[in-house]
């Protein structure tokens, strides 16, 4: 019953997304341009070398194709809550018989579904045909990869969810969202493959949720990690999702009280 309502929200944002024709085509082009540029930078860095630290150029290429591909449909709206607090519509939305978070997720997933079909797939086709991607390490790797992509999105969404809760206390969350995204960009492997990070940084990154977003799925796809390591990767992803959502919910309850006291 409730599921139906969430589906309706998801469908609505799916359709809304289609209104911006230009934005859409440019978005695909954008992903491809960035991909080509990253690959070219690494080609120049590699020069004549076959492999660096056991990482071949084709692994690097695959890392960028997969990471940028995931990024293209990993939709989070960092300003979903702050926008609604800002214009006061939060009060009426909380009266709806569906959970606010459920609705937020449904809206994001609707957009994500649109991006998956109309952005990720065409961009991937072009990338695979014209740039070339390593084959997955095996059928099992491919299956586990898909699963870890889902959890990867979960981690990214949960980080945003937690940070959004600061909207209850800050007039403007643009600054902290921007800073949050700096950490995601640098530490998730989307801009620099984590293999090439200095050892000291690798040790730090281990204890953050960021590598769980893009890098863990890529590692599984390439067969760079196997067996127990894969299980460890999944456990880490799940632990992070649970922790981040948990903290987010605690903040949500505190924030909600503040909102009620101030009368929205």
């Amino acid at each position: 019953m409730k599921m139906k309502a969430y589906m309706a929200f998801a469908k609505k944002s799916f359709l809304q997304k289609s209104a911006y024709r230009m934005e859409h085509w440019m978005g695909i082009l954008n992903t491809l341009i960035r991909l080509v540029i990253y690959v070219e930078i690494y080609r120049a860095l590699y020069g004549a070398r076959e492999a660096v630290d056991g990482i071949t150029m084709s692994m690097v290429t695959t890392n960028f194709i997969l990471s940028l591909g995931m990024e293209s449909f990993f939709v989070v709206d960092d300003f979903y809550l702050s926008y609604r607090i800002g214009n006061g519509s939060i009060a009426s939305e909380m009266l709806l018989p569906v959970s606010f978070h459920g609705r937020m997720l449904a809206d994001n997933l609707g957009t994500a579904a649109f991006k998956l079909i109309f952005h990720f797939i065409p961009a991937m086709l072009v990338a695979v045909l014209f740039i070339g991607i390593s084959a997955p390490a095996g059928a099992a790797s491919m299956g586990l990869f898909v699963l870890s992509v889902l959890f990867g999105y979960g981690v990214l969404w949960s980080i945003s969810f937690m940070f959004q809760m600061f909207s209850f206390w800050l007039i403007n969350v643009w600054a902290i969202m921007t800073i949050k995204n700096v950490f995601i960009n640098v530490l998730s492997g989307a801009m620099i493959p984590l293999w090439f990070m200095p050892e000291s940084m690798k040790n730090v990154i281990k204890f953050t949720p960021f590598e769980s977003i893009y890098f863990t799925p890529v590692q599984i796809y390439l067969g760079k990690i196997t067996g127990a390591e894969i299980a460890g990767g999944f456990i880490k992803q799940i632990i992070w999702i649970v922790c981040l959502l948990g903290i987010g919910m605690i903040l949500w309850h505190k924030g909600q009280k503040k909102l009620v006291v101030q009368g929205g």
Partner: protein
């Protein structure tokens, strides 16, 4: 500029500062966020070159110098051109109509009513920091001639980016949504403008030289000072014409802007 226009720009600036100081903490956080966001590329190139030593013959300090030119010019440009960056929103919300209803130049109002001094602090500080870190280590003797060359190149780089903003702003009058277009042609270009263009595919080199000529903002001026081997791929004259490119582009963008304003009045939005 007439003294009266100067006075008005001073009043606008006073208002902007007052608005910002209404939310002091937020203002500082914003500048910090801009600084960090822009530093992302620097952190990435720094970590990358720890592993790989050099990129097509450019070492880390030369790379930082290349990046510094992008940030210094952008920092100066954005003080004045924020209103053009956000022009799409101004048009959509009807704010542009209000500018038309006031007896002052449209561009003048857009520039001074929206000047973003605080984002400029974020970009500018990063640019200056990078310059300071790299200038002494790139083997350039800063003779007066080179300093003058540097200043003119900065001015040219500011004009080139200002022209792109003006052009993209005018485009908002024809298109409902230009953010994606901007993302592709401007932000992408800028994100990678810190890399020597010689490493890219010919098509991208062509774009960065003749379409969205970021190469004239930093790559060619740096080549005048650094004389790296990869300059052999390009005509030597490119090292000297940044100011000229800036002026020509700005004039063209301004003409397009004038035509677009006429179109706005005849088509509505």
């Amino acid at each position: 500029m007439r003294s009266d226009a100067l006075k008005l720009s001073a009043v606008y600036t006073k208002m902007i500062f007052r608005s910002w100081f209404q939310y002091r903490v937020d203002a500082i956080l914003r500048s910090l966020a801009v600084f960090m966001r822009e530093a992302t590329s620097i952190i990435v190139i720094y970590f990358t070159l720890l592993k790989f030593d050099s990129l097509n013959g450019w070492n880390i300090y030369e790379m930082l110098f290349l990046f510094s030119l992008v940030y210094v010019t952008y920092g100066i440009m954005i003080i004045f051109f924020t209103g053009l960056r956000d022009f799409g929103k101004t048009v959509r919300t009807g704010g542009f109509d209000r500018y038309i209803l006031r007896p002052r130049g449209l561009l003048f109002q857009l520039i001074f009513a929206n000047a973003d001094w605080f984002a400029a602090v974020g970009h500018g500080c990063l640019g200056i920091l990078l310059f300071v870190l790299s200038a002494a280590k790139i083997g350039v003797v800063w003779t007066p001639a080179r300093v003058i060359y540097y200043i003119f190149s900065i001015a040219g780089g500011v004009l080139i980016q200002g022209a792109i903003f003006l052009f993209l702003a005018a485009l908002n009058i024809y298109l409902f949504e230009t953010n994606a277009l901007k993302e592709v042609f401007y932000w992408n270009g800028r994100k990678f403008a810190g890399y020597p263009i010689s490493i890219f595919h010919k098509a991208i080199q062509f774009c960065m030289t003749f379409v969205v000529p970021f190469a004239f903002v930093n790559y060619f001026p740096s080549q005048f000072l650094l004389r790296k081997d990869d300059m052999a791929m390009y005509p030597e004259i490119f090292m000297y014409i940044t100011p000229l490119v800036g002026i020509v582009m700005y004039l063209l963008a301004y003409l397009f802007w004038r035509v677009s304003i006429k179109y706005y009045k005849s088509s509505g939005n």
